[in-house]
Amino acid sequence: MRPNIFLAFALILLFQCSLLSQSVITGKVLDENAKALPNINILVYPHNRDAMIAFGVSSNDGAFSIRMTHSADSLKIIASSMHYRNDTIYIANKSQEITLALEPEVKELKEFVLKASPIIQRGDTISYLVSSFAGEADRSIADVLERMPGIQIESSGRILYQGDPIQHLYVEGLDLMGGRYGLVSNNLPHQSVSTVEVLENHQPIRILEDMVPSYRASLNIRLKNNVATTGTADIGSGLTPFLWDANITPMMFTRKFQVAGSYQANNSGNDVSRQLNVLSMENVRDATAISALSNDMLSIPNLSPPDFNQRRYLENNIHLANANSLTRLSNDLQLRTNLYYIYDVQQQEGLSKRTIYTPTDTLEFAESIYNNFNHHYLQGEFTLNRNTKDNYLNNRLNFKTNWDKHNGSLMQDNDMLNQNLHNPFYSASNRLVMIKPIKNRLVEFTTYLLYDQNPQTLVVSPGVFENLFNPESEISEIHQDVNLQRMQANQSISFSTRWKNWTISPRLGFQYKQNNLNSRTHFFENGIRQEAGNFLNQAISLEQLDDDVLNNTSSLFKNTYEGYNTRTYVQAELNYKTNHLSLTANAPVSHVYYSIEDKALNKGQSVNSFVVDPRFTIDYKISAFWRTRGTYSFNNLFGELEEVHYAYILKNYRILHLNDAPLSRNERHNFSAFLSYRNPIESFFSSINYNYSVTNNTMLFNTVINDDGTSMVAAVEVPNTSYAHNVFAQTSKFFSPIRSTIAIQAHYSRFERMQLVNDFSVYSINNIYSLNPRLSIRFTQWLNAEYRASFMYYDTYHAENKINDMSVIKNFLDFLIFPARNQFISIKGEYYMHEDKHNYFVDLHYRYTIRSRRIDLEARWINILNNSSYQDFYVGAYSLVENYYVLRPTQFILSVKFSF
């Protein structure tokens, strides 16, 4: 009803008032002892009618006063409240004073349910009968889900229940696809589904059900028949050259066994193997538990890929096959199998210019690079899961193997250099997690076992470091063989307990790690194989080489070492929390033991030490908007076993590496301070973070750079200290009149450290300054725009002397347009300025969805301006690298996605 109608209504009432009698009924409500009763409803009805016309509520002294206008001759007055019996009296319709006396009576309200819902709710489970929600045009279960109350589906396929994303989509209690459930919901025909169950407050780990509350829901799909099959396909093609992009995913569901597979192939620069790298939360932990070592001790120097849309530069030809299955075994056990096979050929072409600043000289090298990478990869993962009320068990067995073969050609001053790398890799690992309740406390056991083997061979031709090998004639090839075997076992046990404002979570663990490294270098001279080693001593001047080693020079290129390392630790985190203040203290105590021995070289070392790595954090909420946090930590950082090798290894054609020194042991003090201002009501957020670390190092690496750009790196025991400062500030504000958010980030870093170059020590200082403004505008519901820029400046000092500086500007402008609910257009423009070089890029992406048939048509036009190369810079402590990366030509791809 609009206000003006109301006004008219009110006027009519007013007019009628003069004709009607107005009366005021006043009075008191008392109990049986004549005590005044407050909060009693006094209801006024016309006599013989049931529609109330006025009411009053008794005040603290039991008094009430009701003014009303009605034509009735007499009135019915009812006194009503929860704790007294209703009292009804009849009076004449005239102003008067009455007294109501009430008798106590507790009103029993009946449990009341308004209407039986078509949705059945039992405890925390709600069931929807699919057939009663399905419409005629609906095809998939997602179409039907969208009609069910409380369920929404975003256009990305994500399912929301009561506005929040669901945790899991189960089919008959089995979660086959994990987070990629959209494949199931968008393709499973609704005719094969009988009911959908919403599991509210669903805790996926059943043993935690009564311990850790969950507020998120999951869906379970119950099948009508025994088998349901479905699938999806995405097929695209384009120019230039001839491009393809295909993805076919068939699926099958039964009550006890479910399977989904996919085959994906393209040559359009889409690296689908990245699917393997998507880390779930649990994987992140595994990854940090294992040393961060890359498996490749040997490599072919490659051009670092540009930091933008991969489809502009990646020359690939990839085939990926993937199969996943989930089986329900007996004894509440589920077995999940995931298999991946990848075959990928990638090419890389470009030019790299290196400038090296030695204490005595500045050297420049330029080389053109052509690399060909051949990846061949197979991975299998078998997960056994038991999830019952009193037992949680998850065991994951993983096999990985690859047979990579890479080769690269280099052109340096008209000299051609070829490199061949063969680095197969075999690995097996097993991770077991168990959670058991012990005396009302949950205790978690974790065991991790790993074995891997990485026999690698690098062949460089013609030979490099020739003067070292002292050949009688030219060396045609150098072979470097490395075989690294690693074994690792980690065990831990942990639980949590809480007392008032304190929480304590102790963890006890043991880690064991063993490495075996065998390596040797040999070369071919006139087609004859020679062991490396007979070189002239004066060619290198590294004092740390022992005399007996020099006498037996062949051992300088032969590693046969065995190393192992154990770490036993106890850690307990202590937390104290109040409304304003939170304190955390953590001081893991570890016993660390390292042993490394190279029997052939008669060298070795061991480390045996107790260390404490304390960490304190204080978090204080100063006021509603201001908050501050401070952290101090001290860490003992030991080197990795792989770091040490007593003989040389040719890591790549230009680096010969030796680490004949004690295992590095660094001590780092780290301080950080954080201050923030957050005001959501004003949409204004600001924060500043400062971090300072001081590291006492035991080791330095001496890099001896030869005139031809090759270098020999050797570890030297020189105590030194390095410093790092980091300041990061940001602020953002939303301006509602212009529907825009403006954000600015500023960043400054400074690194100071000692370097050893050509036996000279150099104190290097790197400064990095950056400023990143960002503006996002929502012009309308269908047009959003975003502009981002990044201004960066780097400089490097050797002691007081500035040796180089550089500035980079990047600009991004994106338009996102939604002309209709089924269409999407994105236009991306990028502009890069490095020194005086300019690069412009424009990409276009259009999608049209035929909703009724669930078909997506997509067009992508990438690198519209047809840039042929991209230039990038990298700054090191004593070097500057300038890369030119050859890009893909402009490409246009049309694709169609449909389900079957």
């Binding site: 009803m1 009946k110 256009s155 506005g163 780990i205 507020y215 595994d286 959501p680 959003n784 994105s826």
Partner: protein, 271 residues
Amino acid sequence: MKNTHLTKKIIIGLSILFICNAVIAKSDHKKIGEAELKVLYTLSFQPDSLNSDNIITENMCLLVGDKASMYVSYNNYMSITGRGNQPVIINTSEGIIIDGSNFVPSFFNYKIYKNYPEGKVTYTDFFPMDFYKYDEPMNSFTWEFTDERKRMGIYSVQKAITNYAGRTWEAWFTPDIPINDGPYKFHGLPGLILRIQDTRGHYVFEINKISTSEKKHPIVFPKANIINTDRVKFHTVEKTPFLGIEIISHTPAPTQAPSNVFNNSLELKFD
């Protein structure tokens, strides 16, 4: 609403970095009373005033105590009062547990207290990382009685009309339950409001269930750190699409049309 919902996603992202204190947990509330009666309402609302196909429903809960009452979304109530034992956050390798247990799946984080403090209707809401509140006087609704009557379940109800926040509201109340309360801020009729909706049908509150269990449900109020604001400022900000969202540098641009347009706040105008 849409905004608080988005904000929550951001917290989920942040919480992975530092298992944060932005949790609305039991410890953030104090008990101010006990409810003798729990009334459940189903709220159906249309977030986009131009799209009547998209209706969101949520269960809401009115807890009526001796002196004061609390109106809160059902899920929100479950999380702030803690179901079962005291929540224990365990650092298991299944990170999801830590993540999932901390968040409240409700479109509505607000709570409305009637007669707390005495004579006031207090509105509180949570945006990370704080609670906000404003209050209005009790009994400020002017109700017009009509003589329309009908039955809802076992109760006979009568219709009354009021204007509030730029909408006209039609309420059905029953004198048979002499509790002068209702969903949202609505109160002051001589009996419980069983159904109330605005005349355009954008917000419909309908009773679902009345339960009178032996168990007393606590009425809780956020502890300390409440920022005072006022009704106009609060609801104006609530309508802005970027409310409470801090731009984080790596936020990717959306590639999908926004499916949930929220342009239809319950409170449209402030007189």
